[in-house]
């Protein structure tokens, strides 16, 4: 049988503020590591977009991804009220022009809230366009995420790098919010992938590695050894992310 293809929802490229030496990979080295392990493609956030300036980082992400076909830009966004980032149709044009197929938010690092006051317009735009948004678990509370998904039931929201103490929080939310997905790296309660697949469906799980900060081989074996059928593994490893990627609608947004 063919090896299961992997599509990584969670990679970072570019120079970071404080990398450890062993994690300080160039984009080319990271792509080489992906090839060694068998990760075919990855959504890439540029470190500048998190640690310096989102617009500058997003431009760098687009430039890097144009050179490396295995990487797809994931743009870091902000609420539009301060004028640092476009909103509405202009935001959609901004994503399309840069080749971005998903968005990522760092509300804690970037100092804003996820409630309607701050993100109502942004979430509404992404919800209407069908663009997925990734948010790290350490950037928001479950209460904030619950509020966002209640206000925007069609938003596809992927919570990244959760942990092993989360199921009492997350199961009621998976039941209530059809748009909620969990990235699998570090979502490691004993038998978690099987339990979510049985209760809520494999569609709710999206593979990510956290490279180059975190080890990717372990994130992969977590999925490869899961006691779910081959089809479910393929969905988790990449099929679900493929289906969630934003697809610009013809001339309207380009």
């Amino acid at each position: 049988m063919d090896l299961i293809p992997f599509f990584d929802a969670n990679c970072m490229i570019g120079r970071r503020v404080a990398p450890r030496p062993e994690t300080n990979l160039t984009t080319e080295q990271m792509v080489e590591e992906m090839a060694r392990l068998g990760i075919g493609r990855a959504l890439a956030v540029h470190a500048y977009a998190k640690e310096y300036d989102p617009r500058t980082g997003n431009e760098r992400a687009t430039e890097a991804c144009l050179k490396l076909s295995t990487l797809i830009p994931c743009y870091v966004l902000l609420p539009e009220q301060t004028g640092e980032m476009p909103g509405g149709d202009a935001l959609i044009r901004y994503l399309a022009d840069g080749g971005a197929r998903a968005a990522r938010l760092y509300p804690k690092e970037h100092s804003y809230g996820l409630g309607e006051t701050w993100c109502g317009g942004l979430f509404g735009t992404l919800e209407e366009a069908g663009a997925p948004v990734l948010i790290d678990f350490d950037q928001a509370s479950w209460l904030e995420l619950d509020g966002a998904l209640t206000a925007h039931p069609d938003l596809n929201l992927i919570v990244v790098r959760t942990g092993y103490r989360v199921d009492r929080w997350v199961y009621p939310m998976l039941r209530r919010h059809r748009g909620l997905r969990l990235e699998t790296e570090n979502y490691v309660p004993h038998g978690a992938l099987e339990a979510v697949t049985e209760r809520f469906g494999a569609e709710r799980l999206v593979f990510g590695s956290g490279m180059p900060v975190w080890d990717a081989g372990g994130a992969m074996s977590h999925v490869l050894y899961a006691d779910v059928d081959e089809g479910a593994k393929r969905k988790i490893a990449g099929g679900n992310l493929e289906g969630l990627l934003w697809k610009p609608q013809g001339d309207r947004h380009v």
Binding site: L3, Y164, G191, L193, W214, A216, G218, H222
Partner: protein, 267 residues
């Protein structure tokens, strides 16, 4: 490609290798849900999925409120599944020294358990405190492995504490559980292992910084590094891939996956 990674990448359990998990628990835990069977049968199913032959186990209740009950639970699991389970005798320093000595006598001198487990963080007591004195002396006298929960710079169980303890008890084999957990904690664990030759690094953790295993092996050698998962506190399967995919030799992977544990626990 590494034989280990070739197998793991295909989703095949590791076969024909000695794979011994030096750090597991058993049963429920209070502050989060464990979705799949956390008892012996459920653990064996998870072990079989990736090719773990045997685990060394300290049940959750042993590191929690009732060490004697937990020690009985693992002794019973060893009796039922001698090819799949080995056990730690857990001691709780908040109870009289007599209990510690009785448990060690009952389960190690006269019983089947192979090492000692201490958890300074849950027991809120420092690993170098007086109430552990009898345990360290016993472990030293019998040349036992002692698995200690460790965490970066922690006042109760920071890795650097164990170079001194190791030198003071040179026959005890100290396994730094989680290797200090963070990348900095792993740096500290490397330093402790360089300073005391009976200090070993247990890789158990829910994550592994990219490239860190390569740093550890280059720093202390593969003979001092052990595979551990924390099952069922955590899912053990990511750890298999972390080691299998590392940029180290298959010979080193063999030592880490099981040969070191086989030697230390005399399995």
């Amino acid at each position: 490609m590494s034989e280990f990674w070739s197998n793991a990448r295909a989703g095949n359990p590791l076969r024909g290798e000695v794979v011994i998990d030096c750090h597991t628990h058993m049963g429920p835990w209070f502050n989060f849900s464990i979705p799949k069977d956390p008892w012996a049968e459920g653990m064996i199913a998870a072990m079989d999925a990736c090719g773990i032959q045997k685990v060394v186990c300290a049940p959750h209740v042993a590191i929690g409120p009732d060490a004697p009950w937990g020690n009985d639970l693992i002794a019973e699991a060893v009796r039922r599944f001698p090819d799949r389970f080995a056990g730690y005798c857990t001691v709780n320093p908040n109870y009289p020294e007599r209990e510690t000595l009785d448990e060690l006598e009952r389960h190690i001198t006269r019983g089947t358990l192979r090492g000692v487990k201490i958890h300074p963080t849950v027991h809120l007591y420092p690993a170098d405190g007086l109430n552990y004195r009898a345990m360290w002396a016993f472990a030293n006298e019998h040349g036992l492995p002692v698995l200690v929960h460790t965490w970066e710079s922690d006042r109760l169980c920071g890795p650097l504490m164990f170079s001194g303890i190791g030198k003071e008890h040179p026959k005890a084999q100290i396994l730094l559980g989680h290797s200090g957990a963070s990348a900095v904690g792993m740096d500290q664990s490397i330093q402790a292992a360089r300073e005391a030759e009976n200090v070993h690094l247990d890789l158990t953790a829910s994550y592994m910084p990219c490239g860190m295993l390569e740093v550890i092996v280059a720093s202390v050698g593969a003979d001092r590094v052990l595979f551990g998962t924390d099952v069922p506190f955590l899912d053990g399967r990511p750890k298999v891939g972390q080691i299998a995919s590392a940029r180290i030799s298959d010979e080193d992977k063999r030592k880490i996956f099981g040969l070191n544990a086989k030697r230390l626990f005399r399995l």
